[in-house]
């Protein structure tokens, strides 16, 4: 239905454009005299079209976002008191029933007359809202057309007005990034604070035991004892450490080889292939880790007499490391190339070999930038989800043994939130608390890395 309204708005505003265009030409006395206008004729058309479309569009978007909320409230207010005083999660279940009934679908429980009536009420409101939306949007659009049409005259500076509107759109678009950050912070923080009301934050941060499945009800004895994030976080760090111990040497050495040694043809052929590694979806790495690398390591361990868990941290970490290689290598490559050639030439002129130049001159000079790149890689490894969801374990073992199965923050977020979920249970809210930790940790890493890299760039510019 919004599609149809959008189409109608498009037709109306095209008409508005034509009308405005014609009107101003008529006013000035024909296309031949168009150059005496304050702006070119099409700006007048655009001006009227904007008046016609923009207010109506804003209203449409607001309406679509608010309609469900308002309808829910209206229906709830109509219900008998007994229903309205239910706890909030029961109310949302009830609303689901009402909506399903209104759609003619299946309901979870036997519907009593009050709910039946509410469903009927809901259906009526929905139909009313639909008609009202059409009416309000179209009349607002017509009103806009009228206002715009009236406003234009020969010496009207239509271009300035149109440009002002465009400017507002540009500014609004650029602030979306800020709003996204605010949205992330608030949504995660808000739910996390609710979680900390159920489970004290010190238990969450310093607790040594994590088993959220035990706490199905908040009033259960010992429910809060199972939300200690230390084992989860240790698992995350363990896997990230394995990943980085693969990614840093491989990435750094290939960057050095490609930028200092490789012949040009080799470099141009190999660089894009390495970048393919960065473009492969992580779910593919996860599949490979879970079905090929994991079993392979297990067999290898068996033949060496070691017991390797089939979902070992090593398998996930190794594959994740390969995923991060192109990331480290392309960042280091940029930074190594940015080291001025004077430094290299000076070192070579003193009789150093190439590798000595690299190790004693180029790398120390590039070190801050490389560290920044590695930090970004660590932040990736901590936030990576699909590889660990598919290849790492679910049980939170507090261990540093890479052959054992560990779990990570992201795995826990996914398992807590995918599938049946009840809002307000500590289980669901715990996922947001973990999300908050994840966001804060990666934020700190990113900021340090960005500052370091920026400082480094300035140094040689």
């Amino acid at each position: 239905m919004p599609g149809m309204i959008l189409l109608a708005l498009l037709v109306l505003s095209s008409a508005a454009y034509v009308l405005g265009h014609r009107r101003v030409l008529r006013m000035v006395g024909g296309p031949a005299r168009a150059r005496t206008l304050a702006s070119r004729p099409r700006y007048y058309g655009t001006y009227v079209a904007l008046w016609c479309a923009v207010p109506a569009l804003v209203l449409l978007v607001l309406w679509l976002f608010l309609e469900p909320v308002v309808l829910d409230q209206l229906v709830l207010r109509h219900l008998p008191d007994a229903y309205r005083n239910l706890p909030s999660e029961r109310v949302s279940l009830l609303m689901n029933d009402i909506k399903n009934l209104a759609k003619g679908g299946i309901v979870s429980a036997q519907a009593d007359p009050a709910v039946q009536e509410a469903a009927e009420h809901y259906r009526r409101l929905q139909a009313l809202a639909k008609t009202a939306l059409w009416g309000v949007v179209l009349s607002l659009s017509a009103l806009g057309l009228h206002i715009g049409y009236r406003k234009i005259h020969v010496s009207f500076r239509a271009r300035n007005q149109v440009e002002k509107v465009i400017q507002v759109f540009l500014v609004a678009a650029s602030t979306i990034a800020v709003f996204t950050t605010i949205g992330i912070v608030f949504s995660v923080l808000f739910e996390a604070l609710r979680f900390f009301r159920l489970v004290p934050w010190w238990e969450f941060l310093f607790g040594l035991k994590w088993s959220p499945q035990m706490a199905i009800r908040a009033d259960q004895v010992g429910a809060s004892g199972a939300f200690g994030m230390i084992p989860v976080f240790t698992g995350t760090l363990l896997i990230a450490a394995i990943a980085m111990s693969v990614a840093v040497p491989l990435g750094l050495l290939s960057a050095i080889y490609l930028s200092e040694y490789a012949p040009k043809g080799f470099r141009t052929a190999v660089k894009p292939i390495l970048e393919i590694l960065a473009g492969i979806p992580t779910v593919v790495y996860g599949f490979f880790a879970a079905l090929t690398v994991g079993p392979m390591l297990r067999r290898l361990g068996e033949s060496l007499g070691l017991s390797v868990a089939s979902e070992s941290a090593l398998a996930a970490g190794l594959v994740m490391g390969i995923m991060i290689v192109p990331f480290v290598s392309s960042l280091s490559d940029d930074i190594i190339t940015a080291v001025p050639n004077d430094l290299r030439d000076g070192s070579l002129a003193l009789g150093a070999t190439r590798s000595e130049t690299v190790k004693r001159v180029v790398l120390p000079a590039a070190l801050p930038g490389i560290v920044g790149g590695i930090l970004l890689g660590v932040s990736r490894a901590i936030g990576e989800t699909m590889i660990v969801v598919m290849a790492a374990g679910l049980a939170a073992n507090l261990t540093l043994n890479p052959l054992a199965a560990v779990t990570t923050v992201t795995v826990q977020i996914v398992t807590l939130l995918v599938g049946d979920q009840e809002f307000d249970s500590p289980k669901t809210l715990a996922a947001f608390a973990l999300g908050l930790v994840l966001f804060v940790v990666t934020l700190i890493l990113n900021i340090i890395a960005l500052v370091v890299v920026r400082k480094y760039r300035e140094q040689y510019e």
Partner: protein, 434 residues
């Protein structure tokens, strides 16, 4: 290049000649170190490339067989009692298939055995028969030869993914079933055919009936939303920041934000989508609309950063020329700078879209992991996307889903290669160097 001159003058001071001796003595060692270091670098590159090759080879080896489906050729009597003109659509075609199987193996009598026999064909075998009958209703009452899809266990045996020599307890197919398969094989009644179902069906619990069309359509709708929102907004934001924004604290803040958002883990965007779009605004769960909104927020930083880079590459002389003939700043930017920067922006957008196509984690958070058989028909229908489908199949226990998963990965990678190739083409074809 740094070998000392062998014919050093004899008149050097003793200390210097000693230095030369020391240097020369250590030279061989240093050259060896140089060689080692070089080899180390080369082996790092080779190692990364080898991993890529192994992974591709592994996935292709696992997945290429999924494009074929084992079929059984059955002589099937289209019983007019079961199928007649009145019930062509809902007749029990599966019963016809079962009867035909009994006729092929008349020695099978026990209940248990019969069930095992029926298990040779897919539960969707009746559909193949129905197609045949609907094509030509004159076959009713006659015996026809039909290729019907085999069950996934049979499929795995025929394709060689399951070793026939394993002890019976470790196989899903018993010895009896293997005997039947061998009989059918010797009669030439088993063949591998092009697996059309894989490209035309939605998800299914039965591996032989599962396809990727539903997920592909879901991906298409999700990307449509992402593209429709992130391209205009990304271009507008890049234009503002690069061409109009004053240098002050606010724009600095925006810049820091964009750079940081580009590095925020994708799952956090999923949490945002769950809390804001689903819980707060009450948008429909599992829908491409919500998935697209989340991916929009995720890809915007990529597009903005690429857009700014390509705007920076347009030389200031273009702007100056436009301004000097009386264009407003807006006109100079929209009529002259933007068209020149657009190819670069499009390249960035395609790369962002390719990333969005491969993204899984945030979509798990907004409920796009449901088991959905129907092919979505709109932005608010429940849907899933290709990478999530891969994840779901990878989690399935049936052996046959391994090859489906790998095949779905191959399809996804094919899409990604096409998109990236388009980006490279665009860059080479339209990008100007100043």
């Amino acid at each position: 290049m740094n070998k000392p001159n062998p014919s050093a003058s004899p008149a050097v001071r003793p200390s210097l000649s000693r230095t030369v001796t020391i240097v020369q003595a250590s030279l061989e060692k240093r050259y060896r170190a140089e060689k080692r270091f070089r080899l180390l670098g080369l082996s790092a590159v080779v190692c990364a490339l080898a991993f890529l090759a192994v992974m591709f080879a592994d996935i292709i080896a696992k997945g290429h067989t999924a494009f074929q489906q084992t079929c059984l050729l059955l002589d099937l009597f289209v019983d007019p009692d079961v199928v007649h003109v009145g019930n062509l659509d809902q007749a029990d075609y599966q019963a016809l298939v079962k009867r035909s199987l009994e006729k092929h193996f008349p020695e099978v009598t026990g209940r248990q055995e019969k069930r095992e026999l029926y298990g040779l064909v897919s539960s969707g075998a009746g559909v193949a028969v129905r197609h045949k009958v609907l094509e030509d209703t004159s076959v009713i009452g006659k015996t026809i030869a039909v290729w019907v899809p085999a069950n996934d266990d049979v499929d795995m045996v025929i394709k060689g993914h399951v070793d026939r020599n394993l002890p019976e307890s470790e196989r899903r197919l018993g010895d009896r079933a293997l005997g039947w398969i061998e009989t059918l094989e010797s009669q030439g009644r088993i063949a591998k055919k092009w697996n059309k179902t894989f490209f035309t069906a939605g998800d299914s619990r039965e591996p032989e009936l599962a396809g990727i069309l539903g997920a592909t359509v879901g991906s298409f709708y999700t990307l449509l939303v992402t593209l429709a929102l992130s391209f205009p907004i990304g271009v507008a934001a890049a234009l503002y920041l690069e061409e109009f924004a004053p240098k002050n604290r606010w724009t600095d803040l925006i810049e820091v934000n964009i750079n940081n958002l580009a590095a925020v883990p994708s799952i956090v965007f999923g949490l945002l989508g769950l809390a804001v779009f689903l819980s707060f605004f009450g948008l429909p769960r599992s829908s491409p609309l919500v998935g697209g909104l989340v991916l929009t927020l995720m890809t915007l930083p990529t597009i903005i950063i690429a857009g700014r880079a390509s705007l920076q590459a347009v030389p200031p002389s273009i702007r100056d020329a436009a301004l000097s003939v009386g264009a407003s700043r807006m006109q100079a930017v929209f009529h002259h700078v933007l068209p020149l920067a657009l190819p670069g922006m499009l390249t960035g957008t395609i790369i962002g879209m390719a990333r969005a196509l491969g993204e899984t984690a945030p979509l798990l958070m907004v409920g796009m992991v449901a088991f959905i058989v129907d092919i979505p028909r709109g932005l608010t229908d429940p849907a899933t996307v290709l990478p999530v489908q891969i994840y779901l199949w990878a989690d399935s226990a049936e052996r046959a889903f391994v090859e489906k998963t790998s095949a779905a990965i191959l399809v996804l990678l094919a899409f990604l290669i096409v998109m990236n190739a388009a980006a490279v083409y665009l860059r080479n074809r339209f990008e100007r160097r100043w």
